[in-house]
Every structure is written in structure tokens, then in C-alpha cells.
Amino acid sequence: MRYRNAGHAFAHGVQTLLPLVPGVIPFGLVTGVMATEMGMSPGTTMGMTLLFYSGSAQMVALQLLHNAALPLTVVVTALIINLRFIMYSASLAPHLHKLPRRWTWSMSYLLSDQSYALCSLKLSSGELGVHAKYFYMGTAFAMWLAWQLSVLAGVILGARIPETWSLGFAIPLSFLALLIPNLRNAATLGAAIVGGAIAILAIKLPYNLGLVTASIGGVVAGVLIENLRRGEAGHVSAPAMERDAQ
């Protein structure tokens, strides 16, 4: 899509992100409720939310703080969970590195799973044209605002959401909604199956190392399957698959 101007690209970014907001709200609510139930003040909770800007790391940190874990353990675990951002950063770098620092630094702070999922393919295909950074900012800023406001709503609601609603299940469901449409070929499917299976088996590993182990295992599986299929493609030409892998 070619955009008339920066505002048009930004607005389309916001619009593209909007369908993901219902998946974010319960996640944010739960985070806000959880922090409040632990006795954290609204100011402290929102400070944490602004500094982390990472839901899964924040949830896990809250859980560990609740269990009176060592501060160092909390920091290391949260950062391990966020290791995936290094990989996102590497994959976006070819498209963003030329921008001035005021752009790259704010884009980096605002980088989320959702914006990455929405923008990475569009950035690499070049379809966004010269206003690509505004499209990214539209998705990223809308996501940031939705997240901050839903945590705030959770803080205000406090412990008033009954446990029986099982609102926590909305978290894996929203990840599922991001994951499933991404499974476009055998290699990505293999990465997901292996990553998920290892995560299930490694649930008892300390420091949430299961998540990191599983992610690496899944990536290895994806690359191996891609190599295998490349080997087959050497005999029969399979241009469709090659295109798919991009």
C-alpha cells in the first residue's frame, strides 16, 4: 500500500493494530489486578509498566516477586524472556538502521510482539514505501497506549474481577491468535510444534529456562526442516515453496 502522507500511514498502522487490542486488554487487566492484589501502589505498578513495556516479563516478574525471589533472579528471568527482542531487532535492523536516533530509539522502546508481527513482513517486502516508519509507529504507539491503559484499568478495578471468570486464559488465547495465521509452511509449523512440546516438557526447569530452551529448539527444528525441503526441492523445482519461505 502506498500512502498519501505520513498521517495516512500512521492512521493505517493504528487501524491495523486495532483488531489485536481485544487480545491485549485482558492481559493488561490481569497484570494490573495482580500487581494491586500483591499490594503494589498504583504509581509503582504504572512505573513498572512504563519501564518494562513487556507483558510476559512483567507477569513473570510479579509472580517471582510474589514468591519473594531474589531481585537478581527476577531481573535475569525477565531479561531471558525478553531475549526474543534481540532477534526482532536483528530482523528489523536492515529496514530501520538508517533512520536518525530519535526514530530508532523510540521505535525500539515501542517494539512489541504485536508490532513486530504486523510490520516485519511488510517492511521486508518494501510495500509500505517511504512512509513505512509512520505505519510502524501507528501500530507501535496504538499497542503501547492500549497496554498502558488496560493495566491502568486493571489497577483501578483491583481485585474486583472474580477468579471464576478465568480471565487469565485470554493470555494464551491471544498468543494463539497471533501464532496460528503465522504457520504458513512445514518449517514454521515444525518450529511451533517442537517449541511448544519442549516448553511443555521443560516446565519444571528453574528460572523459566524452559521458555528459552524451547524457543531455541523450535528455531533449530525450523531451520532443519527448511534444509530438508530445500534438498528435495533440488530434484523437483518448487518455486512456490521458496516464495512461501520468505
Binding site: G47, L51, A57, S91, A170, T188, V219
Partner: protein, 108 residues
């Protein structure tokens, strides 16, 4: 934990996370990523997302033991089918939560 220690912890995670988000955008050109790593990156989202989803579905909240009667599993299967067919986050969430409540109700 004291308030000061708590804020120190938040700041440490915040700065660390920002550094990771910025890492390659800042380093680009100064350190070229090996082609192999670049290829591997394509499988990160699927792998990480699945690693977040599956344990959260298979194990009941706050537990790490397998239980037989877990309404989350059939609810997630239905939600996955909806996600596959519609690609809609809203529908996936709505149907998934509805299915969970229904299975809980049916299961007592």
C-alpha cells in the same frame, strides 16, 4: 523488598529490555549478522509464541502437573480452529473464552 530496591529492579529490566530491542538496529553495519542466523530468525516468532501458549493451555493456572480433566485443552483446540479459519483475534478470544466457560460448566 524496599521501594528503592524495587525501583532499581524495574530500572534494570527496563534498561536491559531497551538495550535488547535496540541492539541490532544500533549495531547494524558495524557487526554483520551471519546469514545462518538471519535464516534462523524467521522461526523465532512461531517458536516463542508456541512455547508461551502450549504450557499455559496444557497445565492449569499456577500448576506444573498434568491433569486429566482440563477444560482449557478442548477450549484451546476450538480457538485454534477459529484462528485458522478466520484469522480474527477477536473471534478467537470470544469463542475460546466461551468454550472454556461452557466446558467448565459442563464439567461441574
Amino acid at each position: 523488598m524496599s521501594d528503592l530496591a524495587l525501583w532499581g529492579l524495574f530500572l534494570a529490566v527496563g534498561i536491559g529490555t531497551f538495550a535488547m530491542r535496540l541492539s541490532f538496529v544500533e549495531l547494524y553495519g558495524k557487526w554483520q549478522m551471519p546469514a545462518f542466523l538471519e535464516r534462523a530468525l524467521r522461526y523465532v516468532p512461531a517458536s516463542v509464541l508456541a512455547a508461551l501458549v502450549l504450557p499455559a493451555v496444557v497445565y492449569p493456572p499456577g500448576q506444573s502437573e498434568w491433569v486429566l480433566n482440563n477444560p482449557q485443552i478442548p477450549a484451546a483446540v476450538i480457538a485454534a480452529l477459529v484462528a485458522w479459519k478466520t484469522r480474527s483475534t477477536l473471534l478467537t478470544l470470544g469463542v475460546g473464552m466461551g468454550a472454556l466457560w461452557a466446558f467448565k460448566f459442563l464439567g461441574g
